[in-house]
Structures are given as structure tokens and as C-alpha cells.
Symmetry: C2
Subunit: 200 residues, 2 copies
């Protein structure tokens, strides 16, 4: 036995975080391993000691990011009561943490790389971890009468699409205006799906 300091894990995380920033800025394929190496202040050898490949590194980063997002959401949503409140909070959470361009990189990754179907499958899985959160929220809202009863799956895709799609304004609006846009869109959505029993 030797050097079980476990410092390697720290290095791995550091590399991942710097790489994440690069993936967000430049997309998957345009962020080269050499740029990552430089940004992380590590060596090629070290990087490939921790990660089998660029693909695997990206998946690792994506997983960390998604899990972190879910954790944060759990903390945010815990004290909230109504589905309506939660929906606003979810939009906010989505706008601030999720709307980041890492998802664009993931789309690019899935669209071109990942000839390996297993990799593609894992990617899809990671991309969908937040689906159940939306679905549950909408179901709860219907249950409580806040939202009109309707096809949950369909509504889930619509809300999901709305949240993801509002990112188009990313390049043209500031962070504050984006946040306002998300809230406003929820206003409209709520008026559109408000249950008969709800007031407003």
C-alpha cells in the first residue's frame, strides 16, 4: 500500500469543474482536451488517469451537475406548500441553474458523438432526471385542484419545453429580464391550466 491520501479525488473534481466551464463556453467538441488540461492545471497523463476518455468525462460532469441540481431543488421545494408556489420556484431554479449551456453541449454530444448506443442511452437517462420532478409537481397540482385535470405527460412536455425553450432569449436579454420572463410565462401558463376550483 502506498499514497492512499485520496488526493486524487480532489484533482478529479477540479479537472471536472474546469472542464465543465469550458464545455459550457465552447460546446463539447470545440472544447479540446488540451484546453481542459491547461485550464485545469493538470497534465494529459493525470487527466487520463482519472477519466477513461473525453466522453466519459463529459458524462461524469453531466451526472454531477444533474444530481446537484436535484439536491438543490429538494432544499428549495421543501418549505413550499402549494403546487403553484412550487411551479414558480421551479421555473426560477431552472432559469438560474439549469438554463446554463451545458445542456446545449449535451445535445451536441448526443447528436454527433456517441455512436455507441450505450453511451447515447446513458446520456438520455441523465438528460431526463428532472422529468419526474415536473411530472410529480403537475400531478400534485391537479390533485389539489390548483390545475385543471388533463394528460399529465402532455402537460409535462409542454412545461418542460417552455422552460427549456425560454433560453432563446439568452443571448439578447440580461439575467434579470430572463428571470422575469420565466415568471411571466408561468403567469400565463397558470391562467391556461388553472383548475375550476382555484381562485385567481
Amino acid at each position: 500500500m502506498a499514497r492512499p491520501a485520496g488526493q486524487g479525488e480532489h484533482t478529479k473534481k477540479r479537472i471536472a469543474m474546469r472542464a465543465k466551464a469550458l464545455f459550457e463556453q465552447k460546446g463539447y467538441s470545440a472544447a479540446t482536451m488540451d484546453e481542459i488540461r491547461e485550464a485545469a492545471g493538470a497534465s494529459k497523463g493525470s487527466i487520463y488517469y482519472h477519466f477513461k476518455s473525453k466522453e466519459e468525462m463529459f458524462l461524469y460532469i453531466l451526472e454531477l451537475t444533474m444530481l446537484d441540481w436535484i439536491d438543490k431543488w429538494a432544499a428549495i421545494s421543501a418549505p413550499l406548500g402549494t403546487a403553484t408556489d412550487k411551479l414558480y420556484a421551479l421555473a426560477d431554479h431552472f432559469a438560474s441553474d439549469f438554463q446554463n449551456p451545458l445542456m446545449k453541449a449535451a445535445e451536441e454530444f448526443g447528436g454527433s458523438e456517441a455512436a455507441d448506443p450505450a453511451v447515447h442511452e446513458r446520456l438520455l437517462e441523465l438528460t431526463r432526471v428532472h422529468y419526474p420532478i415536473f411530472r410529480q409537481l403537475l400531478e400534485d397540482g391537479m390533485e389539489s385542484g390548483e390545475f385543471e385535470r388533463m394528460d399529465v405527460g402532455e402537460l409535462m412536455y409542454i412545461v418542460l419545453g417552455l422552460m427549456g425553450g425560454l433560453g432563446v432569449a439568452y443571448y439578447e436579454l440580461g439575467a434579470e429580464q430572463i428571470a422575469a420572463l420565466y415568471r411571466r410565462s408561468i403567469d400565463i401558463l397558470l391562467r391556461g391550466i388553472r383548475g375550476v376550483g382555484a381562485d385567481g
Copy 2:
């Protein structure tokens, strides 16, 4: 003067169309010039005779696509009366013609390539050609009382985001279900922005 047959233009279009298909299938960077060459049944020399670079070729294709989309929309919307009808038709047009993965490729292109700010600017310009269509439609609807009066720019981004974002379901739903999803989302949207003077 010699060989002013103008057949070159035909070849250029052919190359562009085959390349477009490849860009849609594989994304910008993953579609290689050699694949394009093979698919187009042309030579490297011929391709670079017609296009200065891969970048320029992509921009050319994007422009053709957008202009074509606008033309088709003009034909579709001409006989339609109300803004509400037009909104449904626009969603349909968007879903069938626009939701195609060329826009994903454009995002990838803009996110990584296009270090040249001029190229990036031209890309943004092309990406936004349909903005005025949405804006005008919404303004008309407000004018006629079909839609509630509100900030047009904000609503435009919301509708735009909704349309673009619904593509998340692309990998999981069939074409018919997608179309239904678009219609359903417009149903909800309309309930959310319906003007006081409108019936429904």
C-alpha cells in the same frame, strides 16, 4: 467568354441540399467535408469552387432554409383571418418545417465555431428572421382584441421559447404526437392570454 451555361448554380444548390441533410443528421462539426463531398457526388475542388469555406457553406444553407420557411409561411397565412387561426397555423408550420435539427446545428455552430464576430453576427441575424413574424402576429391579435394587451416583446419571447422548446420531445414522441403537443400548447397559451373581448 466561355461556358456561361450557369450550370454551376445548379451544382451549388445540389451540394447545399445534400450538405443540409448531413448537418441535420450529424450536427455541424461532425458532418465532415468529405462526407458532404461523397453525398453530393462532387469533388473537393468543386465544393471549394462554390463555397469559400465550410462556415460559409453552412451560413448559405441556413439562409436558404430560413427564406424558404418565410415564403411558405406567407402562402399559408395569406388566407387566414384571425390571429388565433394564424397562431395555430404558425405552430404547425414551426413544428413541421422549423423544428428540424438544422437549428440545433446552428446553435452548435454559433457556440463553438464562429470565433469571427462578424460570422457570429450574421448567424444571429439569420436565426432571428422569424422574430418579426411572431411579433406582428401577436400585435395583430392584441389589436383585434383576441389577445390581452401586454408587453409584446416579452410575449414574443415566451411564444418563441415555447415553440422552440417543445422540441425536447423530439426523441421520445412521434411526429403526430409532436404536432398534437404543439396544438395543445397553443390551447393553453390562448387560455392564458385571451383578451377580455374574445369568446371561447
